[in-house]
């Protein structure tokens, strides 16, 4: 167990390196020139542009740019934003908590609502609870988040005056964005839990358990749900990433601070150091989340545990 985690961490280093290279390549291919986006078209002289390009090191070949960037990262220097020369790392650390709060809050909503509805749906298959649960789930995944967000603002903020329209200060401003994002995740989890519950219910071991005379409650809760959660947990690894991504849209709709808006702006402006910094950061988060997911497998799924 311990050894496999160490191996995981080691390979994770290559994943981080790989994602940095990938983003570097994609953005390197961008036809736009960051220098020209930084200055006004009608004022700058060719010398200014050349100087700026040289200052930013953009006149060097691709691999040298990457090598020097990577070297800096190893030394803990993530560089400065090209747009406003702000250091990247403090910028990310400053904006990360707001996005983390949003992700956690919406994940909690997604898991509670999703698992609850999914289990109810599977147990009461094809009855009204099932139909309602599935429709709620379907609406969750089939409505664009910006639409849901604006509708929630119209209802809860402008009509009812219950919650603030926008902002990222305090609990109240978190409610609407977290719901908007949470119902998307809930929609996915309902589906996964329902489907895998339905499959598990008919597995041999459940039947065996039932024939052994275990109570239906014990079977459902201790065995069926536990097995059904495996695909749902795999989904969580995916979903956390999706929620970080969903933050890009949600943070714009609700004018929240956060890493989503930082990276969206940076991609559009081809602000390479910032994009790289955020990618590096989200790569690490992703690795941690998935490590947790893999470890929790072994606790939930006895078969995987035995395999280790």
């Amino acid at each position: 167990m311990g050894r496999s985690i160490i191996t995981r961490l080691f390979t994770s280093l290559f994943v981080v390196l790989g994602s940095l290279i990938l983003v570097f390549c994609i953005l390197y291919l961008l036809p736009s020139d960051p220098v020209l986006m930084m200055i006004d078209p009608s004022s700058a002289t060719p010398e200014t542009i050349a100087n700026l390009r040289h200052q930013l090191g953009l006149d060097r070949p691709f691999y040298i740019q990457f090598a020097s960037y990577f070297n800096n990262i190893i030394h803990g220097d993530f560089g400065n934003s090209m747009m406003n020369s702000e250091p990247v790392l403090p910028k990310i650390l400053k904006h990360f908590p707001a996005t983390l709060m949003l992700t956690i809050a919406s994940s909690i909503i997604a898991v509670i609502v999703g698992v609850l509805l999914g289990v109810l749906s599977a147990i009461h298959r094809n009855r009204w609870i099932d139909i309602v649960a599935r429709i709620v789930g379907l609406f969750g995944i089939s409505m664009p988040t910006f639409w849901t967000g604006i509708l929630l603002i119209l209802l809860f903020s402008i009509q009812l005056h219950w919650l603030p329209v926008m902002g990222s200060d305090g609990f109240k401003t978190l409610v609407l964005p977290a719901i908007t994002l949470g119902i998307v995740g809930a929609g996915f989890i309902v589906r996964m839990v329902r489907n895998s519950m339905l499959e598990v219910i008919h597995e041999q071991f459940i039947v065996t358990l039932r024939s052994k005379g275990l109570s239906e409650r014990a079977i459902m809760y201790q065995h069926a749900l536990r097995n059904a959660l495996i695909p749902a947990i795999t989904m969580m690894g995916v979903l956390i990433g999706e929620m970080l991504a969903g933050a890009v849209v949600i943070e714009t709709v609700f004018s929240r601070q956060g890493i989503g808006r930082i990276i969206a702006d940076a991609i559009m402006a081809k602000d390479l150091p910032v994009v790289q910094g955020v990618v590096f950061f989200s790569a690490i988060i992703y690795i941690i989340v998935n490590l947790i997911v893999d470890i929790s497998y072994t606790y939930i799924d006895p078969r995987v545990r035995r395999a280790h």
Binding site: D40, S43, V165
Partner: protein, 551 residues
């Protein structure tokens, strides 16, 4: 089955309780800051007009609060609260004193000598004097500053001489009648030399000026807070309150999403929000709880420029056909629902030398447009699109993203309006206008506007040499006659003659169908009725010196 259900109900109940407990915890821990912000916004106004905190929603995030490095109109709304200028433009286009009390111009019009106010201090205590002025203008032309629009506005500035503590002489390379007017612009506002030297690149995040408000903090993508400068007593003539501002604080909230921005005013979360979409203007006007402030911006209106470097649109006849076929009235009425005025000239009304005779000078005439294209030998092909020598008649119409002021929708309408004429309009919406337009010149039609205090703004758009070797001018003009007029307009010291020159320039541009002027952008603000006395400068930027809040 029933038993099972009951058990599940229990789990549901447990889960609900858990949720409530979790929720309760978060409410408990978050209540403190929630309340703190709650009181600050609710406490706004007070009962008197003195004091209070104004919250004002901006449509985009400023790029920097260093006036010399900024290039965005939205930044100017904040910059104007922090910095003052040497001189101010009065509503009648004349220039009045501000931080300079008087000035003289040398006979060759190449040097300006300013007498400065002696009672002005920067917010960090640095004295305002001739040295400070010299530092500022030298800073703008120093390449290391990476100055943006300020550099263009200051052109053709060469150097400063400190005559005495409160007298400074600015020398120009060549005479420029636009120079004094440009000095009124916020982007040439005066920064504290001490702070600018100390913070260098980061000055834009720690701005210090002489303005009526002092910088407090900037939370990226969230808000910028400024507070009253109690020492302030050098307000310009365009505001009533010559002393310190009435407001304690202004919080500029950054809310890019339209619906959210307007919603935040309607829900009472902020006092005022800028850039009200046309479809919301009527409902704000009709709601007795809110007021709509509106002022037309001045400079170059939103204009579609033909790229005269590319055939066939380098031919005036071809351009005239388009000019006659595009129904601008219909575009403006459809998209802006009567809230924007249609533009007729390359300049907007309200600027020096605006040519009113161009108004209503062009009426849509599709028959004549067709005739012009027929004369040029463009015959209709099988698909209805005109062809000549095996080439289709197309317009590459480039516009930027996001869809600012519904400009992308203008493209969509122009596309439909030119289809019956047999012109295939290819609309390209790009994030990267800089490369497509200014570097590659890969367009036939592209729209832009500019806020400007002086008609010389035209120079950068229409002069052959403009703007510089690294970038293309939008119009791609290479017209010696127009160049000469633009050069004359820049230096002509007789105001009457200067006006006449610019009137001719405007008429020439329209007669040759170099452009399709579309609309004059009104700066709109939706505000709660509690907000009183917002004033605007001649360019349409808000001034907060007089603002007070009613309870």
């Amino acid at each position: 089955m029933l038993k099972l259900q009951n058990n599940w109900l229990k789990y549901v109940a447990v889960a609900m309780v858990l949720m409530l407990v979790l929720g309760g915890c978060s409410i408990g821990t978050k209540e403190a800051d929630g309340n703190a912000t709650g009181t600050t916004t609710e406490g706004v106004g007070g009962k008197s007009s003195q004091g209070g905190e104004l919250s004002y929603a901006l449509a985009t995030s400023p790029d920097t609060l260093d006036p010399h490095r900024s290039g965005l109109a939205v930044s100017v709304r904040v910059i104007r609260t922090l910095y003052d200028s040497l001189v101010v433009q009065l509503p009648d286009h004349t220039i009045g004193p501000w931080l300079a009390t008087e000035w003289t111009v040398s006979p060759d019009a190449k040097s300006y000598t300013f007498k400065l106010r002696q009672d002005v201090k920067f917010q960090d205590g640095t004295p305002f004097n001739a040295e400070a002025v010299k530092y500022n203008f030298d800073r703008i032309i120093n390449p290391e500053t990476k100055a943006a629009n300020a550099q263009a506005l200051l052109h053709p500035y060469k150097s400063s001489e400190v005559i005495d503590e409160y007298t400074v002489k600015l020398n120009l390379e060549t005479p420029s009648q636009a120079f004094l007017g440009n000095l009124t612009q916020a982007l040439l506002g005066l920064v504290s030399p001490t702070a600018a030297k100390k913070d260098g690149e980061q000055f834009g995040k720690n701005p210090v000026g002489t303005g009526p408000f002092k910088f407090v903090k900037w939370d990226e993508n969230a808000e910028i807070v400024v507070e009253r400068n109690d020492d302030y007593k050098w307000a310009p003539a365009i505001v009533d309150n010559k002393g310190a501002a009435y407001l304690d604080k202004i919080t500029f909230k950054i809310i890019p999403e339209e619906a959210t921005r307007i919603g935040s005013v309607q829900s009472g979360q902020v006092h005022a929000a800028e850039t009200v979409p046309p479809q919301n203007v009527a409902s704000i006007k009709g709601d007795s709880n809110f007021q709509l402030l509106q002022v037309n911006t001045v400079g170059l209106p939103y204009t579609l420029f033909f790229n005269q470097r590319r055939a066939p649109w380098n031919d005036p006849k071809a351009r005239q056909a388009v000019q006659l076929a595009v129904d601008v009235d219909s575009i403006v009425k459809t998209l802006y629902l009567g809230t924007y005025e249609r533009a007729w000239s390359p300049l907007s009304p309200g600027i020096l030398g605006y040519n009113e005779s161009l108004e209503n000078s062009i009426k849509p005439d599709v028959d004549k447009a067709n005739q012009l294209l027929d004369e040029l030998g463009w015959a209709r092909g099988a698909d209805g699109i005109r062809e000549k020598d095996g080439k289709k008649l197309t317009i590459q119409y480039v516009d930027g993203s996001p869809n600012r002021e519904k400009r992308n929708d203008i493209a969509a309408i122009v596309q439909q309006q030119l289809k019956p004429l047999g012109i295939d309009v290819k609309v390209e919406i790009t994030k990267d206008v800089q490369t497509v337009v200014y570097i590659n010149g890969d367009y036939d039609l592209y729209g832009n506007n500019q806020v400007n205090s002086d008609p010389n703004g035209l120079y950068w758009f229409y002069h052959t040499s403009a703007p510089n070797a690294a970038k293309l001018s939008i119009s791609g003009s290479a017209d010696p006659e127009l160049d000469k007029l633009l050069e004359q307009g820049l230096v002509e010291s007789d105001q009457g003659k200067r006006i006449a020159i610019y009137k001719t320039i405007q008429k020439n541009i329209i007669d040759k169908a170099l452009i399709l002027p579309i609309y004059v952008f009104p700066y709109t603000v939706a505000a709660s009725n509690a907000v009183k006395d917002v004033k605007f400068d001649t360019l349409g930027y808000p001034l907060f010196n007089d603002v007070n809040l009613l309870k």
